[in-house]
Symmetry: C2
Subunit: 373 residues, 2 copies
């Protein structure tokens, strides 16, 4: 029996010059995978599933073999999390796509967290210069971020996401029931991306988030995930290649990435880094007089209510964080940094003239206090 969706479903498209992505967000939508594949890839005769080892889909393999009539032998499993985002895994997925005889109108289905979407989407991009693919994200970050926009990538010794391609999936199939099995910390962390997206382009979404992060309420998840994806879709449609306003989605990410790089994913989840980074960005903006103390405190209070951290950990020291930030960006005259800052209470802007000392001062203000540990 195909599971029925007890929650309202949201469906829309993201159209860029290069590709259209159908987005379906609901509860129980995974049961419609086969039918949706037939819609988005009508000429496909072969499917390869790329699944991350940590994927939290109880019984999913049995269901592929059974009701969905998808061949279980057409599945490869890759490491969960960032460990999958390597050249070696990318090459292994490419090899598997070719070994299974897929052509450009066949389809790769990536199932799991944002990392497996990134690497499987990248392999789909490079085999035959682009095989169709479908994103089935099972983490909050995967559902509200990685599955739309076409950014695929693996990491390089010189930094995160340095190798990759723009290759939007034909379908992003979001089933919020997959979030139930996530550890609470991961669900909470993922909500930081939703909050950030609200700040970028949907003030109402901020209200809906209040105090609800750890819920199992499917209709609530469908609403907030779909709202966040719509904000992202709008920006991606106007700026697919991330040279203009799409960069607003990096709010909180510059310092967040540096913390992730310095401390690793066990110490700092991606969303936790983003939450801390939003606080630092807000503090830089306060230093410029663009927002007042109340803005910063309100954002802090929102994030604390959602269960997110807002203070910069005591380690590493600021020079190390600044070095990581600068390594990832094009050198500008005077070492100026690019940062997304609140321009006023309601608007974010991409600033290309942030000085290292402004960022360092903001980090100092936002440090955890030892007494609170």
């Amino acid at each position: 029996v195909t599971p029925r969706s007890p929650a309202p479903e949201r469906a829309f498209s993201v159209r860029t010059p290069s590709q259209a992505t159908s987005v379906v967000v609901g509860a129980g939508t995974l049961g419609r995978l086969e039918a949706l594949l037939a819609e988005v890839a009508p000429r496909a005769t072969r499917t390869l599933f790329v699944v991350d080892a940590g994927v939290a889909l109880p019984g999913v393999h049995q269901r592929w073999a059974g009701e969905w009539r998808l061949e279980p032998e057409r599945t490869i499993v890759v490491a969960a999390g960032e460990a999958a985002k390597t050249r070696e895994v990318h090459a292994a997925v490419e090899d598997a796509i070719l070994a299974h005889g897929l052509f450009r109108d066949d389809v790769v289905v990536a199932v799991g967290g944002g990392a497996v979407l990134d690497v499987a989407g990248y392999a789909a991009a490079t085999v035959r210069r682009g095989v169709a693919w479908v994103a089935v994200p099972t983490s909050v970050v995967g559902q509200v971020d990685a599955c739309v926009g076409g950014k695929t990538a693996v990491n390089h010794a010189r930094g995160k996401n340095l190798l990759g391609a723009f290759h939007p999936p034909a379908l992003a199939l979001v089933d919020v029931t997959t979030l139930r099995t996530l550890p609470s910390r991961d669900r909470v962390a993922g909500v930081a991306e939703i909050y950030k997206t609200g700040r970028v382009g949907d003030p109402e979404l901020l209200g809906r988030l209040a105090n609800r992060a750890a819920t199992d309420d499917d209709p609530w998840w469908v609403e907030v995930v779909a709202a966040a994806l719509k904000v992202k879709a709008r920006l991606v449609e106007r700026d697919e290649h991330d040279v203009g306003e799409r960069r607003l989605l990096n709010y909180g990410h510059t310092l967040g990435h540096a913390l992730e790089t310095a401390l690793g994913p066990q110490a700092v989840r991606h969303g936790e880094g983003v939450a801390i980074g939003m606080g630092v960005a807000a503090e830089v903006a306060r230093g410029r007089g663009w927002v007042d103390r109340e803005f910063v405190e309100t954002q802090d209070a929102d994030l604390v209510r959602l269960g997110l951290p807002t203070r910069v950990p005591l380690e590493p020291p600021a020079p190390r964080l600044l070095a990581i930030v600068q390594e990832d960006k094009k050198r500008r005259a005077g070492g100026l940094l690019t940062l997304v800052l609140p321009r006023d209470r309601a608007t974010l802007a991409v600033l290309e003239d942030v000085t290292p000392s402004e960022l360092e001062a903001a980090i100092a203000v936002r440090r955890e206090r030892r007494v609170h540990r």
Copy 2:
């Protein structure tokens, strides 16, 4: 002193949804490289040259260091020919682009034959999801084919060009004087691609080719190379991703690729394979009654006058060639093959219903005769 162009120069653009390529064809145009880089990549602060080891540009390194004021240490050399089209060389070029600190608005300049353009363009495609690049082709095939259209690729154990991306260069800078140093066999072979392009979309070009392949006449080369590139540009603009009429450019390529794969580039140059493949395709069309014997004989006579082979070598046997052809194509019901055929005297068409036995019969008719060896 910047070299002056004694021949008329041709300049035009190729515009697709994803990118615009400026094309400049002339004699002595390499002397304008620095100025053209400033036009097409105005924000670039760093340049990396990827040069193939066989590149036939006497004195070019000295000129980079001297009059062009390009830093010679910003050059990496890769193997000449197909040996460069591997995952390993692709990764090495990616590493070099990152080690030299290039960002998306910096520029990779690929100098050499079609192979180095393919691998360097592919590395430019995948670093930071797309660094700008410039194609400086120095072979006939590179000048009339690889430098426009954005197809970049490396080979895989399962076949040619199976890993790659669509990533058009910002500039294709063609200097026909680089062709003078090519071995005569390579120049002649490359003209097969020009002839093919005339068949696809420029009957006048066929007339201009008559009996002139091995010349050193720069104005003639500028004219025929620019004419061929314009035909290709028109098709690429209408069908960037090669799912429709761009495929007409594969006239002669299906059997040509199979011969290259079976016998290697020493025995069969790419252009020679294409010449032989056009003969086989014409013969399949004659078998269908679409063209008459005179069409086939005229095409043969044209190719022979250009110094090109028209007969299928005695080895390998047809079943081996058919196996290679089928490996590279999506299996259709009944093993039907996709081939570009003359639909009538003036028109080519992509046919998806060619039977293996039609192709086998045409190969048999077109075999070399032992007595002529």
